[in-house]
Amino acid sequence: MHPLDASILEAFRRDPSRAFSTSELVRDVFPKKYGQLNQQIHSQDRKTIRQGYATKAKLHRKLLYHVNKLVEQQLLKVSGLRGKGEKLFVLAMEEGEIVIKDKAHRIVISKPGAMATPVDGDVKEGLIRKFQPNSWLNKQNAIMLDARAYTSFEELQHRLQQVFPGVNDTIAIYSFERLLDDNINEAKRFLENLCLDAHDYNSAVSILISIRVLKHDELLLQLLKEVLPRMPRQVSFIFSVTPRLLTRKESFFRNLLQLFAEEKRKLNLKNSALVPAPIFFGRAGTYSFTSEDWNYYKSKVRGKAPGCVVGQLSMVVDIKQFFSEGGTITGFRELATRAANAFFEVEEQRRKHFAEYFGFLNLSNLDASKQFFKVGRSYLRFWNYEWDVEDESPIFDLLGSVKEEVDKFCTMQETIFKSCGLPIRFKVGLSTSFAKFDQELFSERRYQKTAISTTKELQTKKMKDYLQIREQLFRVFEGADRLRFFIARGVSTDETMSISRYLLSAYDLPCFTLDFRGKAGELKLTTFMEDS
């Protein structure tokens, strides 16, 4: 077998259900050359750009020769076309296992069939939806890489290349500030590559920065100034702050707010005085740690593993739709338990093929690998969750009782498996969903939502009541929520500082976003949450 044939088949082995475009195969088979040509294509110099496109065409031709050979051998087939006629390739077999071997290579590809779960009836009725069901068995929703585990951006970049193919929603880079030094070129190059990879893999990325630890304030501002204008919206920054830090580093914050306002970007602030653990975003929604898991991470994972899995699988329930179609509170709780059951069944299948699907991380030792998977959980998410079921039964009471049921189920499963000699971790968290989870299928909701111009607008009775409910929801969701405020156009930096200070100190809101895209007027929830 030609080494290129083996590399192509290796890409399909890692992701057997996926349809690969020629470009994606080029990226996977020639990662180094692909990185170089991408930089060439995105450079400012015309000649370099031309060279980049020429190299790209050459690699495409070379790859297609081998792909077509595999099509002739009936190992692959064309599944369709994308964009301007770019072919998509899939494994020819529908499901099962195939062993391809010669003297030098042995590749075992197993393609799982569609897996039936206890919520399939509910999915059919439109009551619940799975996030990225095609990669339920072989990908994780969210992985966090801890920059403390790397000595350079280059090293982190190398790890990211291994992680991107195994993730179907988002990657977070924690403690980004620790790798910043006097030379911003390396950081800039890293972020540029990160943006390209995020685009190629259609993955969200959150860069988490602790303002307390940050030493190079000016350097970070300079870096942001250079990269923000060209950064895709799926890459976001989340700054960890406290009310006290906001005062202590006022000048830095002013510049930061001004920069994000000028670029019309979303500025995410996490109140680390309330929640020390990271919070970050994907297309499915928010990801977080319970305080118990975060303490475990700090004491056992950090220093052993290069990061950790934070999200495994996600499903979403449209609460408004559920109850408007005659659903009852009991039925809702039962649906949540069925969802937890479904997560558990999928986890059972993932354990079965664990080495095959999650060996991509290539971690140095077993302990590192164990710790990497030690704090992940699946998420049952909610859409239109502020819809009151009954006046006397606020939604957070319902969600609180659902959480109790789901926690009970998880504990029972862990206890049973542990007593059988299978010490596993199984946790399901509750969280909100973002519109991008499944925008077309969500019910719409109209929000009386205007952009904020002054702190006073946050102090009306209506807004206070709303924020208090959101505080309670944050508690139910253990921090896995995010509140967004649109900042009206033309609001001064002084006023935005005042709004930030107020939100950080007056309410227990672990994470909120100041969106400077200046939207105003009545918004549908789907619009309100767009690009989340």
């Binding site: 206890t415 007593s419 299978l422």
Partner: protein, 225 residues
């Protein structure tokens, strides 16, 4: 106390009745009320019936019970997996990354010396497992193989045994290992004995016990103190 029965189901029911009637109430580390008896010995004459307990637990829709495949795999597979805190198979077939206790020790020893009483497999690793803050410590600690009347008998020491949820799985796993060794020795499997240093039932499981093993199982037994 020693319970002897022909099949796993009979042994399981008798043991549960014994724990319910003779067990003392205590609160475990997770603050759950339990009933326990100490040093409970249970012998199953026909370990070939071991899967019945697992199947009974799997037929109940209140929980997800491990599959026979996964239970057998963690007992017979030496490849350590990242998703389990520990793996019986690794301890048995690749102890400390150095010793295959079955294929390099137990089987050749019994082949060469059928009367030996030294065919012991140790799963507990004091250096790794026994720390004051360790929460997941192995249940199955030691397995002893002995050829008696041309049959391969096995006795297992279980540190602590949740008799409703855990014991059927443990017996199934040990029976699988017994099958493996018996096959290598060309002998039929003999009785399988478990000695549970602590055999307990969670009070919260009483309804489930009735559900799986029938209402008669709790007849005449006082449910709570």
């Amino acid at each position: 106390m020693e319970i002897k029965a022909v099949t796993v189901m009979e042994a399981w029911q008798a043991a549960i009745r014994h724990i319910l009637s003779e067990g003392i109430v205590f609160i475990d580390d997770d603050k759950r009320e339990c009933r326990e008896v100490r040093n409970l010995t249970v012998t199953v004459e026909k370990p070939s019936s071991a899967a019945d307990g697992v199947r009974a637990m799997r037929s109940c829709r209140r929980w997800k019970y491990p599959s026979e495949e996964e239970l057998a795999n963690i007992m017979l597979n030496k490849e350590a997996a990242s998703i389990y805190d520990y793996l019986y198979g690794q301890r048995i077939f690749d102890y400390n990354g150095k010793s295959d206790q079955i294929n390099d020790f137990v089987i050749p020893l019994l082949q060469n010396n059928p009367n030996t009483r030294r065919a012991v497999v140790s799963l507990l690793n004091p250096v790794r497992d026994l720390h004051p803050d360790a929460k997941n410590v192995l249940g199955i600690s030691l397995i002893h193989f002995r050829i008696v009347e041309k049959r391969l008998c096995v006795t297992t020491i279980i540190r602590t045994s949740g008799f409703f949820t855990g014991w059927p799985a443990n017996v199934f796993q040990i029976a699988k290992l017994q099958e493996h060794v018996a096959h290598a020795l060309s002998l039929p499997p003999g009785p399988l004995t478990t000695i549970s240093l602590n055999a307990h039932l969670h009070s919260g499981n009483f309804d489930d016990i009735e559900h799986v093993l029938g209402e008669d199982i709790l007849k005449g037994i006082k449910r709570s103190e």
